[in-house]
Structures are given as C-alpha cells and as structure tokens.
Symmetry: C2
Subunit: 346 residues, 2 copies
C-alpha cells in the first residue's frame, strides 16, 4: 500500500556522501571511480533498492538505446506470427531487450496507432509486418532514422532501402503445385489470401508458373480470392465444391484458410485426398495430427523472427550499414492430405 516514491540518484548520492554525477558514473561503469567510493555507492544503492529511471535515461541520452524493440504483426493469434514473435523475443531477451508486441490486425488505423506509439516511445527499432496501407508513414519513420526491419512481407513499391527477412513464397507454391501435377491433378483450385500483400501475390505467382511450366491452363474459375482467415477458407471451399466440374485438388495459401477448408471438407464427409487433395501453405506443430495429416509448405517462422531481430540489432548498433534482404527457403512437408505415390510417415 505504501506508495513509496522510488529512490533516485540523489538519495543514493546523499547516503553515500557523493554527488549524483558519481552515482551515475558508478552505474555506467565509468573507469574513473575510486574503488572505495564505488563500494560505498553500490552499497547505498543496494540498501535503498535503487534502480536508475529508464525514462529519465532515455530523455537525457538522445540516442540512448531504450532496450525495447517494437514488433508489429498482423495477427497475433495466427501461429505463424506467434512463431515469428517467439523468435524475435528470443533474440531480444538474449540481448537484454524487451519486446513491445503490437497487433495491427491488418487494419490501417490500428497499424498507424502502433507505429506512432512505438516511435513515440523511442524504441530502439521496429520489426514490422507491413500492411499495404501506411506506406508513407513507414517511409517517414525510416527516413527519420528509426531502424526498421520488414518481416514476412515487403512493400511492392521498392523505393526505400530497408532490411527485410522474407520467405521465397513463389518457389514454395511452385513446389506444392508441381507435386499435385505430378500426382496427376489437372484441376487445381487455389484459395488466395488477402489482396495487395506481397505474400499473396508471390504465392499466386508460384501457382501460375507451375501450371505454365507443366502446360496447364490458368482457369479463372479455379481461383478463389479470400481473406487469409479461417472463415474465408471455409467460404471459398464451399464455392469451389459447387463448381459444375469440381477441382481434384486445392492449394490453400495460408494456415488459417487451410483450417477452414479442412473443416468444411470434413464436415461434408469429403474424403481427403481420395475425393479431393489438399496442400496448404504454412505448416503447424499439429499438422500431423489433423485429419488427415496435412501436406504443407513449411515456412520457418521462428527463423524469420530470429533473423529479423538479428538484423535489427545489427542496424541499431550500426545505422549506416547496408540494408540486406534475407530470403529463407520454405520446404514442402509431404503428408497424407495430398495423396501420392510414396507412403511417407512423419
């Protein structure tokens, strides 16, 4: 209950019979402090339970590292993004940084609010899954000298130099579709994610290229624009099932839509992969236990987070270094849902 006003450097100074400057020196392990005074100060600090005010520190030392990194993701309930967040947190913690995780929810206003908040709080840097809506603001922030790293996505507009960590979405899709084609599928439906995202575009690109590479036509009626959410996946699945001529395979371009799709198929008693094959983008820890075990393009979410945080910390300690674009490779994990010639387990 005692709303004890926290002790300040002044209090410590008084107790140790030194000036606040000396206290500050002790806590910044400046070389020029007498062994004896050092001990006295430390003892006083200990006794008073003193910890320097990070707020005051930040106000004073202009470019002082706040030891906080901002992370803005678009869906904190999506396991893919929590994996990223986990990776970021891991590296941040190892470097004694905390993470301010924000959830833009693909919403323009929300992303704006969080962007402004993190820079106002003077975080050391920001890791951002950019929505397509705040390009100008992001650009301004970057130009203002705030270290930024993009993760998972980039702006199509390429006129800013920023560090980024992404996945080779196109090749991931390509391999998935290739697999289906080799299994004999000719009518492969694709459920697309949210409009205007680089990931959506690239994954669709991979789909197109694979069809083309194998001489298959790109058919409009097999393309289902959706919303990157479970409900959207379910909806698109309904639509695709009501086609006069049903597709024999589905490629769902993110985890949540795949889950929706799966639920819809299962609820109708449609056999996977016998009646219809399914491959999803994004693997999940429990993909093996789904009914049926899901063939998926695995993105290394955790590694994305790790790399992004690494990159950010590097940029923070060296703001003028060249921006780098790291592209990680996805992996096709073959399980039962796509059917197939080999009866792999795993």
């Amino acid at each position: 209950m005692k709303n004890s006003n926290n002790p300040t450097a002044k209090d410590v100074a008084k107790m140790a019979n030194v000036s606040t400057a000396t206290v500050s020196r002790v806590f910044n392990r400046s070389p020029k402090v007498n062994e004896d005074t050092l001990k006295r100060v430390l003892k006083a600090a200990e006794e008073l339970n003193y910890r320097p005010s990070r707020v005051a520190q930040r106000l004073r030392g202009k470019r002082k590292n706040s030891m906080i990194i901002g992370l803005i993701i678009t869906d904190m309930e999506n396991p893919f993004f929590s994996e990223i967040a986990r990776g970021v947190e891991e590296i941040a913690y190892k470097n004694k940084n905390a993470v301010m995780v924000c959830n833009s929810n693909e919403d323009k206003e929300k992303e704006k609010f969080y962007l402004e908040t993190v820079v106002d709080e003077q975080v050391s840097g920001v890791i951002l899954v950019p929505t397509p809506y705040n390009f100008k603001l992001v650009k301004k922030i970057i130009n203002n000298g705030c270290p930024v790293v993009f993760v998972d996505r980039k702006f199509s507009n390429n006129d800013i130099r920023v560090d980024s960590v992404t996945v080779n979405n196109k090749s991931g899709s390509f391999r998935a579709i290739e697999r289906l084609i080799k299994l004999g599928h000719r009518r492969i439906a694709v459920i697309k994610g949210l409009k205007k995202l680089s990931t959506t575009e690239e994954r669709f690109e991979g789909y197109k290229e694979a069809l083309e590479a194998y001489g298959l036509p790109l058919e409009d009626e097999l393309i289902f624009p959706s919303d990157s959410k479970e409900e959207g996946g379910r909806q698109s699945t309904k639509e695709l099932l009501s086609l006069k001529q049903r597709p024999t395979a589905i490629f769902s371009t993110n985890n949540l839509m795949t889950l929706g799709c799966l639920e819809e198929l299962n609820s109708r008693g449609i056999k996977i992969p016998e009646d219809i094959a399914l491959i999803g983008f994004d693997d999940m820890p429990w993909s093996t236990s789904l009914n049926p075990p899901l063939t998926a393009v695995r993105q290394p979410g955790y590694e994305l987070g790790i790399s992004a945080a690494d990159l950010l910390l590097k940029r923070i300690s060296n703001p003028t270094r060249n921006a780098s674009d790291i592209v990680l490779n996805p992996e096709l994990i073959v399980r039962k849902s796509c059917g197939g010639y080999s009866k792999r387990k795993k």
Copy 2:
C-alpha cells in the same frame, strides 16, 4: 537519411509566438486558451509535425498514465495464451493503450527480467500469469503501488490482495472425468501439467474429486506428472501405454500435452476412442479438424484477456478499489475423441 531531430514544444512555441506553457495547455486541452492562440498553436504543431514526447511527459507527470500495459505470459506460442493476449490487446487498444507482451517461458530469471523491465518503464499496470518463482518480487511491486492483475493462475499463498481472473479448473476437470466415468471408463489416466501451478493442482483436484464422487480408487500408476508441453504429453503417453494394464481413457490437462498425446497415439495406430478415449483441457480453434475431433474442456481465453484488461484499467483509474477475483466457467465440448452415447457433431 536526414536524422531530423524531432520538433519540441519549444519549436512550436517559437513558431506560434507563445510560450511552451501555452503549447502544453493546448495539448492538454486546458480550458484557458484563447480560441485564436489555440488555432495558431495547432497550426504550428501541424506544420512542424509535432508530437509531444511521451518520455518527457512520463518523467514529469509522476503518476501520469504511460498508456502502456505490460503483459507477462508464460508461453506466447501456446494458443491459449495468445488468445488471452489478443483479448488484452483488444481492450487496451480500445482505450488507446499499447501492450508490452513479455514471454517468461516459465523461467524464473526471465520473469524477473520482464517484471523489472515493465515497472522500470513505468507501464500503467501489469497483467501477469505468475510463475511460482518470484512471489516476493511480485509482492513488492504490488506493494509499491503498481496495479497488477493475475490471469489464469494465482499464487497459492494468499496474503496479497490482487485482482485476478481465472477459470474454474476444478469443475472443468470434474465434468471431463465425470463424462468418462459415465461412459464406463474405470481406469482413467491423467497427464498432469507443470508442478506448483495453481492450474495444475486444481485440475488434478477435479480429477480426484470426480473419482471419489463415483467411488473409484485413485491409483498412483495412472497419474503422470508432466511438463505442460507437447513433448511431455508424448512421453507420458508412451509410459501410460506400457502399463501392464492399460488405462481405457486419458485426461490430458493442457492443450500442448494433448497434442503430444494425440500424435503418439496416432503414430502407433491406436484407435481413439475405441482403443483409448481422450479428453483434453483447452479447446483450440482446430480441435474439430484433429484426428479424431477432440473432446475438450474449453477455457474462454479471449474472455480471460478481456476481463483482465478491464480489471486492470479499472484499478488504474481507481487504485483503491477493492480487489476482485473473477472466475469464469469452462465448458465441456464433446466431440469424437471421448467416444460416447450421443453422436453429436461439432
């Protein structure tokens, strides 16, 4: 590139031909500002793109709300906790607060680090899933006047008055076990979570009480202490399967362990629920799509987050209000994995 020093109140003041005090008044919509000056200041601010420094604000106004709430959870990759986080974020955002999400990972040092960080950052308050390891520190923080709300768990030691939002774990377990018993099961294994957690204890308590209520013996060999993680669930499942006399049902007391258990069972081709029935604590959005669809005790994670945030905001605006303990009720969602007399869908 231009590391433009942000404009300060001084700059705005100069431009608008007023003092910094007036600028401050404008931004704190103090009543005593002439309409005309107000406009001038606003225009200058607009032009310079001025935003008050939150850091300076916090330093000055002692009990000024930082508009940041700290959230410390124990596993950010566990969907249950991300649901909580989502709920917290939702309410926080509605009230123009940002959330600093920290991941203690059930680790003593890590929790300590994050606790210290959030209070050092002068967050407005903290929502905490407490580990059993930092009781004294948490107590100190609370006594120091920092608003705290516990979510999901509480300290068994009850000598601090804190707001809390938890779930009635005991009744949840009870109902799950009751179900199994009514289905005819007599040997029900339980996979327990991490030691010393109130949730673990309460869920086990429910198990015991149900057995007792139906006159069944509590058998040591059916109790499997585990770690609340997937790997632990798998391990315990292995052990329980190698019992001379196999249990006919398993009650797994959290989502990740259930996933591990499921994977182990499926990989051995053990039929659920025919060979062995399974009920897990924690429902997940994709529980329906698991093989088989999972019967689960559903905790309202999102609501937990919402309530915790509500409570915290209330306490922040009124630090002396009485602490309340909110207990939400879990729900048994019956699906295929427990077998049973009714062929419910969903």
